[in-house]
Symmetry: C2
Amino acid sequence: MPLSEHTESVQDYLKTIFDIQREHGRVATTVLAERLGNSPASVTGMIKKLAALNLVEYEPYQGVVLTPAGEKIALEVIRHHRLIERYLAEALGVPWDQVHAEAEKWEHVLSEDLEDRIDAVLGYPTTDPHGAPIPRRDGTMPPPHTTRLSDLQTGQSATIAEVSDHDPAMLRYFAELGLRPGVDVTVVAVAPFGGPLTVRLDDVEHAVGREVAGYVAVCDVTSAGEE
Amino acid sequence: MPLSEHTESVQDYLKTIFDIQREHGRVATTVLAERLGNSPASVTGMIKKLAALNLVEYEPYQGVVLTPAGEKIALEVIRHHRLIERYLAEALGVPWDQVHAEAEKWEHVLSEDLEDRIDAVLGYPTTDPHGAPIPRRDGTMPPPHTTRLSDLQTGQSATIAEVSDHDPAMLRYFAELGLRPGVDVTVVAVAPFGGPLTVRLDDVEHAVGREVAGYVAVCDVTSAGEE
DNA sequence: GGTATGATTTAGGCATTCCTAAAACCAGCC
DNA sequence: GGCTGGTTTTAGGAATGCCTAAATCATACC
């Protein structure tokens, strides 16, 4: 059953379930409700519909997991979303921290034909502007980065691979700091008790809240520092 | 009240009413229903909603006319539609006769910001790929062309200014014939009793049904021929 | 002037997707 | 092992926008 057979609502649910599943495993009703901005009661209702369509496995009171069919559609939606983000940033110059909201609307109206054209114009990119991988046409996607900025020890250096685009305010904050994919950082100090990290970016030091830093995925740890 | 405050359905109704109004003046329920692909009963219902929003003037059994507020929104939607058509054709290479269907979906998700970016990338174009004028940002639009191909006499030459994009099959036919904006045509023969016109296009002669030709808007009549 | 015919509106329903309020469930704690 | 607090589901309802079938209207013709 192709993507376009499903309502925007269904597409949004599947996309969001996929995202949460990557972080938490099984997806609880409340978490899904909060992420979607709907009431838990509404989410229960829609979940039942998704289960009837064989897009999720649903055990009452136990949350949901995507079926292979559901995952396939989720990946198609995410591919649309990330390709469009990339396109908006690269071809139309939309600021890095604003593409997400725009893509949220466009992802639902992208035809296969246009998807291919955009993909080709961009030269078949593999990541979106936030560094998140773009699912491939065959429905596969590289595994997510697991090291977070907040996992680093004092003295360690790394290259930012990806920043979270869930929270628009956070995204603006990252943009101001210059914390974006490809940028090198060094951890200068780590406060105890979950306090802030001090990181060096372009020879300027910034204190970053540990919770905020936890949103930043990092790969390619460059130097081990004092470890 | 900005465009985005209205549902896609409302936007489609207003756009379509505007189009029909240009041809027929007051818009009858049945005509609107047919163009939208809805039942007349549904259209009556929506019309009442539009009237309650002060977007149309509605007299039961007498059809509708757009109010200034309704016309403003219609022009914004049409501007979106035609800018996107142009963009798809020029920037993404979507074939000339396929942009309409694609734009039909995209027109509803275009933000003001992106509208401006696309407008600038294209160099502020004044017509869409079918030759139809793009409404200006201030809500004005050049008057439509009134001369039709079927109005020409034998021997007259003219430059195609615009072709209708209402009917996809017609559009494909025009594309095959090479009958597109900017192309010069000469009428070689006019059959009596509403029969076909024979027109010369690039030294090739084509017989075109009179009704079909009536869909082609023409401007700049070049030579008067035997007239 | 009555009447047929087509256009239009009303009446009654259906599907989607959301909501609030109330009931049911589950788990951890005394 | 019962209680309690948070989670989840059920119940009942609202808005949108579409439908068919049945009534009503407008008009053109005899």
